[in-house]
Point group: D2
Chain length 365, copies 4
Amino acid sequence: MSDAKRSKPYPPISYSDYLKTSPLLELQKTRSAEFGEEAHEEMLFIIVHQTYELWFRQILHEINSILAMFARDLVREEDMGTVVGRLSRIVEIQRLLVDQVSVLETMTPLDFLDFRNMLYPASGFQSTQWRLIENRLGLKASTRLKYNAQPYHASVSPKEAEVLLKSEKDPSLFDSVDAWLARTPFLQIDGYDFGTEYREAVHAMLSEDKQTVLRFAKSDEDRERGLKQIGDTERVFESLFDADRYKELQDSGTFRLQHKAVQAALLILLYRDQPAFNLPFQLLTRLQDIDELMTTWRYRHALMAHRMLGSKIGTGGSSGHSYLKAATDTHRVFGDFFNLATFLIPRSSLPKLPEALTRRLGFHP
Amino acid sequence: MSDAKRSKPYPPISYSDYLKTSPLLELQKTRSAEFGEEAHEEMLFIIVHQTYELWFRQILHEINSILAMFARDLVREEDMGTVVGRLSRIVEIQRLLVDQVSVLETMTPLDFLDFRNMLYPASGFQSTQWRLIENRLGLKASTRLKYNAQPYHASVSPKEAEVLLKSEKDPSLFDSVDAWLARTPFLQIDGYDFGTEYREAVHAMLSEDKQTVLRFAKSDEDRERGLKQIGDTERVFESLFDADRYKELQDSGTFRLQHKAVQAALLILLYRDQPAFNLPFQLLTRLQDIDELMTTWRYRHALMAHRMLGSKIGTGGSSGHSYLKAATDTHRVFGDFFNLATFLIPRSSLPKLPEALTRRLGFHP
Amino acid sequence: MSDAKRSKPYPPISYSDYLKTSPLLELQKTRSAEFGEEAHEEMLFIIVHQTYELWFRQILHEINSILAMFARDLVREEDMGTVVGRLSRIVEIQRLLVDQVSVLETMTPLDFLDFRNMLYPASGFQSTQWRLIENRLGLKASTRLKYNAQPYHASVSPKEAEVLLKSEKDPSLFDSVDAWLARTPFLQIDGYDFGTEYREAVHAMLSEDKQTVLRFAKSDEDRERGLKQIGDTERVFESLFDADRYKELQDSGTFRLQHKAVQAALLILLYRDQPAFNLPFQLLTRLQDIDELMTTWRYRHALMAHRMLGSKIGTGGSSGHSYLKAATDTHRVFGDFFNLATFLIPRSSLPKLPEALTRRLGFHP
Amino acid sequence: MSDAKRSKPYPPISYSDYLKTSPLLELQKTRSAEFGEEAHEEMLFIIVHQTYELWFRQILHEINSILAMFARDLVREEDMGTVVGRLSRIVEIQRLLVDQVSVLETMTPLDFLDFRNMLYPASGFQSTQWRLIENRLGLKASTRLKYNAQPYHASVSPKEAEVLLKSEKDPSLFDSVDAWLARTPFLQIDGYDFGTEYREAVHAMLSEDKQTVLRFAKSDEDRERGLKQIGDTERVFESLFDADRYKELQDSGTFRLQHKAVQAALLILLYRDQPAFNLPFQLLTRLQDIDELMTTWRYRHALMAHRMLGSKIGTGGSSGHSYLKAATDTHRVFGDFFNLATFLIPRSSLPKLPEALTRRLGFHP
């Protein structure tokens, strides 16, 4: 009623017209009924998958809106809260999706057999929206597992395949965040150089560790082991500062982010209390949550497939159990932010930011 | 492929054709887009309610199948496991529905205002399926709260109203269980009379309590209070054995079950370890779970309405917050099974069942 | 090993010494075993309550640390992320506490009777830590329900009572947030006056609403109702701008926040996208979550008490069921932030902040 | 008060004395405070692990009680409901344990670094109770992963190691259920032989499948593939009926149950609606749930370890991430019941049980 832009009231609408409940509740057609061999449990199978698809739609709605905000030349500061809020919503939905597996598991393998043969060759692996979510998040086409020795778009309609292939070329959330991080001005600013400062702090910390080992080692062996461990740690950190070494990490698949992006992410994680870093820190945390829940969902599905099918092949013709389990590792997108934990040093060894920088990271005076 | 009754294989089907994903994903039409004032958050509002409706459909699918089993003259023993299994599934779904409130709560009141006016007079209170669930479970028409001083079927289409009114007359789950309990042969069998036995056990227990009070009371006041409490307890139990007193409990709304049904339920709860009582015990427990989760869902929604609307009236014209909160108490269906706890006595005071009866409650020898 | 401030390594420690598992696992002494009438289920009762107490301790640890940050003359901007993070952790813990009720409900009323009499007069209402949480959050002593016609500290030890009474006098989270909001400089700054601006926007919106009613009302009755509703809305908003009317809201218990604090909260909710308002917005949201989960926990416990005890009085001598249900409304602390939804207007009617102000609400240029 | 066996009332007790809250809340001693470098987050770390240990204690309490019931020569029918109820409780607790990971994840890697060095060499892998749960459930000593190239009992105290080693020799839940299944009288009774009947049904089903392939194959290749698949299925089933082939499955680690136990489990799963099979069916289902949640918990912990430590080695000296991930597969105990799904045939092909048998599986007439 109170909308400034309209000159007349909105036409009234009822709950069922608004939510389209009539057509919605017409869409659960069991094959078992169609073939005259009604199986009570098939309804559950349909409802579980349809609710999944509805939630996938919502997740895509959120991701797409976030990608649009990252598509600007400069992400607006006023959008950051919204970005974090929408990522948090995705997390909340994912929790629901994981819990939903328990509902499907109230169906037993014997119940499933009542209609399983009627579904051939339909398979959950053909969910275009799920694939789209993976692509939008940033799963690389080259990383994808083959399914039945076929590319993932082989089992869907040509129109759907086209959508999927196009989405491989669009900038993903991973790409967007990578570029956004790499653009951060705070790595080198007003004479401050994060790389140099951090490298020195790491060296100071490790050389102190060495002193401790030399003074307190209880045996030669103890000392050797201690020093070796410090040396290993040193080499790990070096790869962060040295572009060539970092390239090796990228080539080996350990890291996927640009070198500057990794450093920016580290800067944010280390100094998250600075006002300008807090929402970016929350953003990185939410991406980890999303990655974790994507893979947890896959894992729970792998277990369910094992339970439902034993070692039999899935309705789609391939072992869902093994595929899903392999995907838990291979299809992770934001693993870089997990691996970053390796490069953190304790706050007690952390160099203080120069005042000139903290001023810039704070609010307008 | 391996179905004995078919002479040819089932025609192949794809995931998207089977789940009807295309029409399904066409059903989210936001009004804000229709009126050219796109509100990002309206999609969430639609998806949350559509998934609710899908789950309601599943719950109705289960309840209807259970009612059919109870509609036989004699419920088949082989169906009891299925009944309990399907009730357990409803519980699992309800847990999801309660958790789902958290997803809707990621929308803020300010976000809601972007499209709230466009929904008038649609309201969640118009969900026909939810009303149907309430009726099928056994909510009495006379107990229902009025909503905006109107009967609950006034706000839906005539066709939907007809469905609802008819469902009021069909036997509900409450009715079915009530009748099933009242038919139990084990209350009086082969010379055993549960009422007499239990009454004696209660009296023995209470008279021992009296001795304890008389011997150990530290003051006159202490003794008076102790004896009064025992007297009160005595009167409570008496209403269970005396048909007239029980009638009073029914008239006052404390109990709704038939007198014999209450006694049968008590027998089952007390001797649940007897093989023939175990599934009935699980059934009563699941009914309590369902009741508890129905009302928890209402309560969470009342809180959400408060959060979203403050003290404003809902889109449907009435205060959702107050209505939902009132319904948490008034719309409970299986409260009798909760109140039954009042009539239990400790196992240590419980009379042993005669061997003739335990034999009948066990498996075929 | 790598800590800069230490000159020697930390002495090694084992898992069990660190977590004190030996003494920890000695603390589950069942009374039923002590009295030679072992009841299997008593262990669950103890473990459920001990884990509650451990989580309460953690919640207090977080609240106390937050109160310390608010105790400074000026809350540091660098602390805001930490405050929000710790409130989010409390929310995460509360979700667990609510789910934990389901574990206790695997115990039946009959099981409970095996040892219930042995616990007299112990009662969950005597949990000092829970009371302390309520006080630290900001439950007013005058608002507290009596329990068995006794003040809440009557049933605990004198030492515990003292802790509780002292905590009533300490500044609570409610007090701290109230004072912090009231101090916000942005309500009137550089010639901007939020009250005036907002009041005008409300009037403009409502007068447009009036035009719509006058033009489109289908009957005299329709017009009267429409105008009356707008008039009501007008009066509601007026109470926000007029100190005397607001005082009435405070006196009637509708609002508890200071007048300036309410306005500041509104400003934050309306303009949450401004960088300087985002963490404050998250803070207000978390307080709502905490309030909602506190009361949900009470509600679930009320249902559980009903299930376990029927209408019998609790072990502590009073009806836990009724007490807990009454507390769901009465003991809420942050209801003001829920009620604030009443005062929001749609973004489309919201006045733009002057550039001078948005600059101040952004990061250092 | 009302206990028949006692001649006097139980001495009164307070909440805090009963739950031993004072000593309980003394057990959270942070090392960071001890060393004068207080880290706020260490409290969370302690509380999370102490609540885990309390829940482990409860799980052991349940498992031990179930093992005692299985230790009788003949498991009593009256105990079956209790067994299933207690397994269901374990499942409910495990759900909580999995959700609890989210609470620990509110601690960031940087927070952890504030005190991580102080914990060396303590590690979650040293939880004796967790090991004990694994042993009691039935994890074989020979299957256990080494941790840091050491047996699992090397890192705990000699007394704890002794408890663990003893538990390896005690009959586990797996052993008990295996023996109980193998004793089932219903595989061969009154002239009925499950093996023969089922084998015939499988053959009938597969030969019909062959006819379908021969009649409807669209090409030679199609026919070949169809027939090959049926042949494979045939061989899989054969291993179930042939003791030698089954031995191969055992030797290869595919199955661990005795041959008769596998058949009994299959009989129960196929004919679960028979009253005498319903609780056994629920028992097998709960064991699957427990297995699934044990491994889900490990998986979530593996992800958390990755997040917290990156690719660094854990505080205990080994990569927790990799160890936990490896254990998700290797440490599963009830995988046999999952694999059984392979041997089910659809109800439509299932032979009816002879009436003589269904009578025995029903209640006393």
